[in-house]
């Protein structure tokens, strides 16, 4: 099942695709029966996120792209709730920066508490999946507790959605194609089979020292193909079976700066 959370006509609603199996047609059916077009609603992150855990350099090709050596432990960082944004949201690019890029990622949502879970049992703790776009403004990178929050935890810099897809409906999370389009041009492709640390490993690794709770979400990293984006750009991230997450870049003046 695919579910969204949207704001419409004065309330927040659970919503489902109005036409299942029609990629690109994201019209929604609200729980109360109304069918509305995707641009008539405000899309929120499709579940209530708890701890947001993100992976750096978890695809070999992207690590190479950024000139990193292979690691023996996942590069994990955390994000706060203020950075989250829904489908069709707007992300600010600060004036004067030289390199701001998207990152299309498979997001794994925890459904059952996970503490010291073995790899073989890990997928049993997953509620479902969604698409994440984890922006970075690399101009602000400093070599202290990388990646620093000014790069990775900016307001509106972590886009989730449009749909939360039940784990039961994702046959093989280790074989999902990812694609990003900027203004309709394909700029990034990858497949989750190329993750350095796959989903079961990440749950085993994390749950060894921190209890994962329902709503906690793991953003599993991005493959190569990150390019600079500028105000006005429309960035669309796709993952097989999860839909298409669209987001627009805006300049400072739109934010009164």
């Amino acid at each position: 099942m695919m579910r969204a959370r949207v704001a419409y006509a004065g309330a927040i609603h659970d919503a489902a695709p109005a036409r299942e199996g029609r990629p690109g047609h994201e019209d929604v059916r609200l729980a109360d029966g109304r069918v509305v077009t995707e641009d008539a609603v405000v899309w929120l992150p499709p579940f209530e996120p708890g701890t947001v855990i993100a992976l750096g350099l978890n695809y070999a090709d992207h690590a190479k792209e950024l000139a990193f050596k292979a690691q023996d432990e996942p590069l994990v960082f955390l994000k706060g709730p203020g950075t989250l944004l829904g489908h069709r949201g707007v992300t600010r690019r600060p004036s004067g920066v030289k390199f701001m890029h998207y990152e299309c990622e498979l997001a794994v949502v925890i459904g059952r508490p996970a503490r010291q879970v073995a790899r073989s049992q890990a997928l049993g703790h997953v509620a479902g999946y969604c698409i994440a776009n984890d922006y970075a403004v690399r101009d602000y990178l400093e070599n202290w507790y990388r990646p620093n929050l000014r790069v990775k935890n900016r307001d509106g810099g972590t886009v989730l959605g449009p749909w939360f897809v039940d784990a039961a409906d994702v046959a093989d999370p280790a074989n999902l194609g990812l694609r990003t389009f900027v203004n309709g041009n394909l700029t990034q492709t990858g497949n989750t089979r190329d993750l350095i640390f796959d989903v079961p490993y990440l749950i085993e690794y994390l749950s060894a020292f921190m209890t994962l709770s329902p709503g906690d979400v793991i953003l599993t990293g991005t493959p190569e193909g990150v390019v600079n984006v500028v105000p006005g750009d429309v960035v669309a991230c796709e993952i097989d079976g999860l839909g298409r997450l669209v987001n627009t870049i805006a300049a400072d003046d739109e934010f009164g700066r």
Binding site: I53, E73, L75, K79, P81, G82, R115, E142, R150, T211
Partner: protein, 235 residues
């Protein structure tokens, strides 16, 4: 004080008699904000892999599984002889703080509490693993929120850390590189803080070390006392 916390579950409650009445669960901390902490690095701050001392506040996140109340046992993992306890003044946000100016910043603060940033000691400040700081229970805080109006000056508070009753560290918020208002201004320039969010303003160095069986207490002028018992994971 009465409170309930089930370790690692994120279920957390603490009695408040001031807004915002409950914490959001988001706890941010600032490293190297106490002069002693940056000074302890010496010339290394300017050498590889850092290359330069920090420009923006060095922030980190204590996720909800780390939150604990006064008296909750903190577990020391096998193979780790000691943990570090960084006593910090924590600001509790009372209303949405976005792009606040330094002179008006404290208007966004509901109150203050004690935050103990517990870590597995590590020497890597370049890209340390979160397993040093994000373990279950590694962010005791409390014992309650003291209203902003009851704290005359958050930039002149003394923090005392005791290990089994013996004074192990005395520090002052007067020695923070970025005082409260400046921190809020610099952080909310790029990330909005919400009501109930906590910002731990930074610990002094060297942080006291603690072994299994010991109890750390932290007190801050006017904010009460936080007590943290430590035990081996196996115990």
């Amino acid at each position: 004080m009465v409170g309930k916390m089930q370790a690692g579950t994120g279920c957390f409650s603490m009695p408040f008699d001031v807004p915002p009445y409950r914490l959001s669960g988001a706890v941010y901390g600032v490293l190297l904000n106490h002069r002693s902490a940056l000074a302890a690095l010496g010339d290394a701050a300017a050498r590889p892999p850092h290359g330069a001392p920090p420009v923006a506040p060095v922030l980190y996140i204590k996720p909800r599984n780390t939150l604990g109340l006064s008296g909750t046992v903190v577990r020391i993992p096998a193979g780790t002889p000691e943990l570090e306890v960084g006593a910090c003044l924590g600001m509790v946000i009372g209303r949405t703080a976005c792009r606040v100016s330094e002179p008006r910043a404290l208007d966004c603060v509901a109150g203050y509490l004690i935050v103990a940033d517990v870590s597995v000691p590590h020497s890597d400040y370049y890209r340390p693993s979160i397993r040093f700081k994000a373990r279950d229970g590694y962010c005791p805080l409390g014992p309650a929120v003291t209203a902003r109006a009851a704290v005359a000056n958050p930039d002149a508070l003394t923090l005392r850390t005791y290990v089994d009753g013996a004074l192990a560290q005395t520090a002052s918020t007067a020695d923070l590189i970025r005082p409260a208002g400046r921190l809020l201004a610099d952080i909310t320039e790029f990330m909005t803080l919400a009501p109930g969010d906590v910002l731990a303003m930074g610990a002094a160095a060297p942080a006291p070390r603690v072994r299994s069986g010991q109890t750390v207490t932290v007190d801050i002028d006017g904010l009460g006392r936080l007590s943290i018992p430590f035990m081996d994971d196996a115990a």
